[in-house]
Symmetry: C2
Subunit: 304 residues, 2 copies
């Protein structure tokens, strides 16, 4: 399978008023994202409130998505849980559905764990899944997990499981770390940055693309940057993308902000709903965010 | 139901060589703990590697424990997950089994969440369980969760759900925070400290006891301190307990250290096994730990 490259959206998860996942809105948003610039989708990421969903809820949403006709080769669902048994169960499920790969958080409850322990955890999952189709993208996001994935661990896993360790998503926000990972691109590691602010730099260094919250609302512009990064206008495209990112980040916590923007532009207030412990973006903040985005010339095409 | 008071053990979870939970060793250790000083048991705590277990594994172990004849009124199982649906499922299960209460972590993936979001999360769980038998002990352990439970949140929950919010376990390691919580004891809050080093101070301020890793190996001495805290020898008992705690803490990460001690004194190497991302205590560290404990006059009675 050709590895996914380009802009991937960690798809936001819609909820009903009773806080149940809403598969119809979910499928509609997924189809819209693929039609408007996303090369692939990474449902069940941090932006998706994945850890706020139960295992069955995640499996049901993924099965429904594939049943809706969406090509599983475009999917990179998140599967990393605290318990390796659950990570293995979700990963086996995704691989069996034909997903392009899985995005795997390390077990994130215990802090200060050894590289040896993290290696053992990923090894155990790979052996339990026991499916040659499994492609793992390691998910480095210490601001949430408190459990960084050191370069040495990535190298060791890549060496031990060359056909299985496919890539990494770096959401650490530290360009030096991304650069070190990009040094492994020659060994076949697909490196996605976790924010588009690093996209141009990453592409210039052999990166695979980005998996970013804002792809939920701004997939077209990000895709343009991905496609035209070698052209003279690339810096301007990066600046335009940064402008939208800054607006989203400066008006509230990112997940409720992204959902508020979709709710506004799709004229579908249901999108505002988040599961606790997150709370919806207050109306005043939403208005300020939307105004700021409009001022930047931002638009979302035919979203409904 | 009279609330549990005294020394509670966050029971270590034994694993088979294939890393499956071992219900027989688990039940045997639980019975031993109750026979040697523990007033109650808090299975599925941090020391239990709870988050490394799947939901079904936790339910099966708990059901097996109750089926083995252990009085559920002595049990305070941990039930807090990242997803409120899973927290509700485990809590409903524990309440239906007749457990004295549940020890509930906040959702711990998202950081910097608001007090409003945490309140909504606990509220939603309480409403979903919908069982008047539910008694919640809030579990404050920011070194692992990164999500502190502020005093204001505890007060608000206590006021909103006076029959349901029964207590708190404070594993923050900050006595000032414990003292603030103990100020709510008059309103019916049962305050357990998460380390015996604070036990005497907590009892002098109206605390309910402690829930501590070392109760897995030192229940008798801790129980003596709990029973005799008003007597002249209390300070010496506290010092003796501290000596064992210091030994455990200074010879390696606490969970593998506690398991290594049980493995050694029970002459049962199977206890050394931990689930990744934890790793077993190396042999040299184990020897040093055991020697240090023996030097301190430590013994574990008839553990087998």
């Amino acid at each position: 399978m050709t590895p996914l490259r380009g802009v991937l959206a960690p798809v936001i998860t819609p909820f009903t008023p009773g806080l149940a996942p809403d598969p119809v809105r979910f499928q509609r948003h997924c189809a819209w994202l693929l039609a408007h610039g996303c090369a692939g989708l990474a449902p069940f990421g941090t932006t998706s409130e994945a850890t706020s969903l139960g295992l069955d809820e995640r499996k049901d949403l993924l099965e429904g998505l594939v049943a809706s006709g969406l090509d599983p080769a475009r999917l990179l669902p998140g599967t990393g849980c605290c318990a390796l048994t659950e990570t293995a169960a979700l990963s086996a499920h995704a691989a069996a559905l034909g997903c392009s790969g899985v995005l795997m958080l390390p077990p994130f409850y215990y802090k200060g764990v050894s590289e040896e322990g993290l290696f053992a955890s990923y090894s155990e999952v790979i052996q339990r899944v026991g499916d040659a189709r499994l492609r793992i993208y390691l998910y480095h996001i210490p601001p949430f997990t408190g459990v960084p994935l050191p370069i040495g661990l990535v190298e060791r896993l890549l060496k031990a499981y060359p056909g299985t360790i496919a890539g990494v998503k770096d959401s650490g926000g530290d360009w030096a770390h991304s650069e070190a990972l990009l040094g492994l691109a020659a060994q076949g590691l697909e490196v996605f940055v976790g924010s588009e602010v690093f996209l141009l730099r990453a592409l210039r260094s052999g990166g695979a693309g980005c998996i970013t919250a804002s792809a939920n609302v701004n997939p077209g512009a990000l895709d343009q940057l991905f496609r035209r990064w070698r052209e003279p206008g690339a810096e301007a495209l990066q600046a335009g993308a940064d402008r939208v990112r800054t607006s989203l980040q400066s008006h509230g916590p990112l997940v409720p902000a992204v959902k508020a923007v979709v709710a506004h532009f799709a004229q579908d207030p249901a999108w505002k709903t988040v599961r606790p412990p997150l709370v919806p973006l207050p109306e005043t903040q939403t208005r300020a965010l939307v105004e700021d985005l409009l001022e930047a010339g931002f638009a979302m095409p035919e979203l409904s």
